[in-house]
């Protein structure tokens, strides 16, 4: 049967399981929007395409499915760019569909023409320019396959307007033919045996648990491995939640703002088991002195990550869950009591400096507020964040026992991510409690999506940590630029009035005794809610490894 290209697009999207699309219509994608009305897909009209991209990203992270965002040509498509890069850096499967001017106009600087495939080439896993209707079915099939398989990532499909309206025979391709794309599952046996030998010899092993554990759904087998070999587990920012924070072997977050004992454990280890992580500069500190005594086993699906930052002794390229499932029966049970004891020694020393143990001085501190939200929600909410100080504090104090509830822009560090990601996550599970924590700076970048939340009835709670500063930049200027504050003082609108103008109930909290009541009010109020917390202006995130310093050279919070 003949169908238009736009109809074929929706036929394929429905077959891929797409239920919700975040997008914005315009001249070059109107046939797609017209055809959409005949298909069982919910469309969320966003207020800015960047918001749509982050929503699709948040949806994908929370659901484990492929997210979907749409935009028109030209500025519509370029507005997606930050969201695409965010998904790329954090390996999130999102398919973007953009409209493009008619094929015969391409290259002629037509109205709203931008070379979108050119622009997004380095920030997509793959992208397509579709000029004919009969290409669409195959391209969509491939795009979803590429987005979700191997190391996931964003794929963009740019569809010319003529291809949307042309009629052609619709044949759904059952298979994808990609001769140059074959992700590997199993690691070779002899490599596994070499890994086992290193594990046998290790006295001070440590697991570095990355985002790959979540992507590969390897949480259970990771726990089996850790318990069987009695190996403590440190987590990257994006790996949080993959291993229960309350587990006795859990060390929490590593890296620049990681726990002291965690970074000490890494530096003093004799074997690093890097699972689905990529030795980012934010987790290694300077590479010259990184874990100098440790042998390294790296399990990772992307071969280009092997030896990229840190040369490893046993690289195991494959799907983490598959490789670990192969590995667990090959290792014996061990105990590392002395090693675990040494780590807890470092921990109890660090605890004395923890701000959470400070007496009440009447001021609001973000770590306390995060801890209060954690307590109120039983640690079970989905937590999305923006980027900066509040993000690090949320990572430190919203201790997660369950996977896929921590949605944060790690690799790209995209401000404005929190609110739209929370709205996207709500579409993944509408019964799930969802909190978005943002700073006063980041919140203003995508605050317009509050109305999207209202229009959709998205039940998301927004906590704005307002310190009237761009806090993390201010902290760096305090530490490393002799407190010469440059462009960090931030005037904000009245957030309560702003929220109310969007139709969102809101409260401002300035005293500690109001905090719990405000959180309780937000939780029992249906639909989106904004809480503005007026917090201590010049607090800093501790501990901190200065850029370029060794991982165990941390600036610690002064003892009070």
């Amino acid at each position: 049967m003949k169908k238009t290209g736009a109809e074929i697009l929706w036929e394929c999207l429905v077959r891929e399981g797409v239920e919700v699309v975040f997008g914005y219509p315009g001249g070059a994608n109107m046939p797609i929007y017209d055809a959409m009305l005949s298909y069982p897909v919910h469309h969320v009209l966003v207020r800015h395409e960047q918001g749509g991209a982050h929503m699709a990203d948040g949806y994908a992270r929370a659901s484990g499915k492929v997210g979907m965002a749409m935009a028109t040509s030209g500025p519509g498509a370029t507005n997606l760019v930050t969201g695409i890069a965010t998904a790329m850096m954090d390996s999130v499967p999102v398919v973007f569909v953009t409209g493009q001017v008619a094929a015969h106009l391409i290259g002629g600087d037509a109205f709203q023409e931008v070379d979108v495939t050119g622009i997004t080439l380095p920030i997509t896993k793959h992208n397509y320019l579709v000029t004919r209707a009969d290409e669409i079915a195959e391209v969509v099939r491939e795009a979803f396959y590429i987005a979700r398989s191997g190391r996931p990532g964003p794929v963009l499909i740019d569809i010319c307007k003529n291809a949307q309206v042309e009629q052609t025979e619709f044949i759904y391709p059952e298979d994808v033919k990609l001769p140059g794309y074959q992700p590997v599952d199993h690691a070779p046996k002899d490599s596994l045996e070499r890994a086992v030998k290193l594990i046998e010899k290790a006295q001070r092993p440590i697991i570095l648990c990355g985002h790959g554990v979540l992507v590969s759904k390897a949480e259970e087998v990771l726990a089996n491995f850790a318990v069987k070999t009695q190996t403590p587990v440190a987590s990257t920012l994006l790996g949080l939640g993959a291993f229960p924070a309350s587990h006795e072997l859990s060390l929490g977050m590593m890296g620049m703002h990681g726990e002291v004992h965690t970074n000490m454990a890494i530096q003093n280890s004799d074997l690093i088991l890097a699972f689905g992580m990529r030795f980012d500069d934010r987790v290694t500190g300077t590479l010259k002195t990184y874990a100098p005594h440790a042998k390294k086993i790296h399990i990772e699906i992307d071969p280009s990550e092997m030896h990229k930052n840190v040369a490893v002794d046993v690289p195991l390229v494959g799907d983490l869950k598959t490789v670990l499932t192969d590995l667990v029966p090959m290792v014996d049970e061990y105990d590392h009591d002395a090693w675990l004891k040494e780590i807890s020694g470092w921990k109890s020393e660090a605890d004395t400096r923890n701000i959470i143990n400070w007496p009440d001085d009447g001021k609001l501190y973000v770590p306390h507020l995060i801890a209060n939200i954690w307590k109120a929600t039983g640690g079970g909410a989905i937590m999305t964040t923006d980027v900066g100080q509040h993000q690090m504090w949320a990572a430190q104090y919203y201790a997660l026992d369950k996977p896929n509830r921590w949605l944060t822009s790690g690799g790209a560090g995209t401000m404005g991510f929190g609110l739209p990601a929370a709205i996207g996550a709500w579409f993944a599970d509408k019964d799930q409690e969802i909190w978005a924590v943002a700073g006063d700076g980041g919140f203003q970048m995508t605050a317009a999506e509050l109305t999207t939340a209202v229009q959709e009835g998205a039940n998301v709670k927004v906590a704005i940590m307002n310190n009237s500063f761009l806090g993390m930049v201010r902290q760096w200027q305090e530490f490393f630029f002799e407190k010469r504050y440059s462009a960090v003082n931030m005037l904000s609108p009245d957030f309560v009035k702003l929220a109310e103008a969007h139709g969102v109930p809101a409260r401002r909290v300035t005293k500690r005794e109001e905090v719990n009541e405000a959180i309780a009010w937000a939780r029992k109020t249906q639909g989106p809610v904004v809480l503005e917390f007026v917090v201590e202006q010049e607090d800093a995130v501790y501990p901190m490894v200065p850029a370029g310093a060794a991982l165990d050279q941390m600036i610690q919070r002064p003892v009070k």
Partner: protein, 186 residues
């Protein structure tokens, strides 16, 4: 040191851009790049010569990243494999009748050919390894080179080998020589 890669890629629009963009994105400098059709109309073949300041460490990085491109079917690092490499150059020399014989003589020694003769110039065509071509250029330079074009290197491994060889390394094996790689890391 220069490394030579052979990449078999899908013959589709934009693939050359993807490959070239990757080298830019990962901050590598292409010395030469030659692209052409193969016996299979759906497959193009690229020979890429790249300067790798960190030796095998860089070469591994390039190979693994090339594989990440969906349209790249196969990659071979032929730098240390027995292979035939050829470059072709056309060199125009400003020379009148009185010195043509000299050019002719040189061309004979290098097994080059004179493919065009004008009143005040000749064009020499030479095929060979980079070294050979460089050698000839040095000798022609004093005579006055006015224009030169080179195709860039193309390469083919020796013996029965259709060029398609899944490099084990990408599946996890070749990195086994890690002790070596660890030393190579910058």
């Amino acid at each position: 040191m220069n490394y030579t890669f052979i990449a078999l890629v899908e013959n589709k629009p934009g693939v050359l851009n993807r490959v070239a963009s990757l080298f830019r994105r990962r901050n590598f400098n292409i010395e030469s790049l030659a692209v052409g059709r193969t016996e299979n109309p759906e497959v193009s073949r690229m020979t890429v010569v790249v300067d790798c300041p960190n030796g095998d460490y860089d070469a591994h990085k390039i190979e693994a990243n090339l594989y990440k491109l969906v349209n790249v079917i196969d990659v071979q690092d032929v730098t240390r494999q027995p292979s035939v490499t050829r470059d072709l150059a056309l060199i125009k020399i400003k020379v009148g009748p009185e010195k043509r014989a000299e050019v002719n003589g040189l061309a004979e020694i290098f097994r080059a050919r004179i493919v065009d003769v004008a009143v005040d110039s000749v064009i020499v065509e030479i095929t060979g390894t980079e070294d050979k071509i460089e050698g000839m250029i040095e000798l022609l330079r004093p005579l006055g080179i006015v224009e030169m074009v080179r195709t860039g290197q193309v390469a083919m491994t020796r013996g029965v080998n259709d060029g398609v060889r899944r490099v084990q390394g990408v599946l996890g094996n070749r990195y086994e020589d890690v002790s070596e790689l660890a030393e190579m890391a910058p």
